[in-house]
């Protein structure tokens, strides 16, 4: 599988470490009344779809950036690759 890194161009997926669903960017608020339940869902429950999936890949053997890759789990086709930083900022995190 080739991941088209936004900064480095096409890279072999073997250079990356996989972290799973990109929902991990949306860390729940620990002060919320429902924090215990929210963290359980955040830590343990996954959609795990057959089809398009937003997921976190870490370029461990490269520039060590985190990417959000939109990939089809049935065909392995990749439709979009973004820097996780940009995705998180666009959602109002890490200002």
């Amino acid at each position: 599988m080739i991941i088209n890194h936004p900064l480095l161009g096409p890279r072999d997926s073997a250079e990356f470490t996989y972290m799973g669903d990109a929902k991990l960017i949306d860390r729940p608020d620990w002060q919320s009344d429902t924090a215990a339940r929210d963290f359980y869902e955040y830590g343990y429950l996954r959609d795990n779809p057959a089809g398009w999936h937003n997921e976190l890949w870490f370029h461990e053997q490269g520039d060590r950036s985190w990417l959000v890759v939109t990939r089809n789990t049935v065909t392995h086709e990749i439709s979009k690759v973004e820097l996780a930083r940009d995705v998180a900022r666009a959602r109002g995190r890490s200002k």
């Binding site: 996989y18 799973g20 429950l45 996954r46």
Partner: protein, 416 residues
Amino acid sequence: MRYSGFQVIKQALTGHKGWTPAWRDPDPQPHYDIVIIGGGGHGLATAYYLAKEFGQKRIAVLEKGWIGGGNVGRNTTIIRSNYLLDGNEPFYEFSLKLWEGLEQDFNYNAMISQRGILNLIHSDAQRDAFIRRGNAMILNGADAEMLTTEQIKARYPYLNTNDARFPIKGGLAQHRGGTVRHDAVAWGYARGADSRGVDIIQNCEVTGFKQENGRVVGVETSRGYIGAGKVGCAVAGSSSRLMSKIDMQLPMESHVLQAFVSEGLKPVMPGVVTFGAGHFYCSQSDKGGLVFGGDLDGYNSYAQRGNLPVVEDVCEGGMAIFPAFGRARLLRMWGGIMDMSMDGSPIIDRTHIDGLYFNGGWCYGGFKATPASGFCFAHLLARDEPHPTATAYRFNRFETGHMIDEKGMGNQPNLH
């Protein structure tokens, strides 16, 4: 028809014209007491024990393809009960004991071969860990023996014990472990269930659930609606896909695991051997092929095929301990979709919806669990309470903090 040596001779003398199909091919009825979704090893075993041990009637197994086409027919067939944790070991030992009597029980030759499994040790710390694990096994009534390098060399003289990076310092053996003819497990359970009245309905994909007053009352399928008193889901790698139809998120990711078979060789591997420093394990099939495998590909996948980096990684692991095998040619390789849970252990539990029960999260170790999984799921479905060996396999353990994490990896399914 009961299978026996006498039948084989009788049929041989009469031109093999008297054999009948091993199971019927019925059309679905409008309603069953219990519907099992998934005709893999676990679903078929569940139906078999429901009918045989728990006296249940009017049972159907719904399979979207053909029975045995999923992981039960794709795995590397290793059975063992060498677990450390209390939540697991009694269950897997129960399973191994069921394996030991299975062929007589369901009157089918599953080629169960207790040729032993050996986990190699490469460091002092690993020896300590394996001694502890062996003790846990013995405490739970299983067998375990620590072997020295000399004892191992007597069985596997061609093992590379002096590798500079990963010297072999001994091993943990379970002599009652071994291999089984995997398809025969599906066929044996199917035949045993069918002969007790279970309808095995193939080419019947479940596409949705019907609820009334918070209770599941039936399933929508590619062959029409089928009503059910209770529904048990046992679809392994497709678990999240199926449960999403009733808006349930599972503590699970689906990953592909590959398996490899070499050309046929003369007998060279007496048992199963696992590499302790990388991920590689190997046995030899009765046809002579070396059957081996290793790590998951590592990213969510519903494609029943793997990619090349893992092929290289697995073969490197093999070469580290069995350099001689580098001369063997690879004949076949394939992949299966694993229901990797968040702690590496399975779930056999009720769901929050009345009448709906779940069995899954088997990761890459569910084949050995097949008999106990079927028995315990049948117990739960019939009596509405967990079997004593499966009390820890609950959904809520992730919420209450009672994870059963053999490897201590945390909620990272691709590392279990």
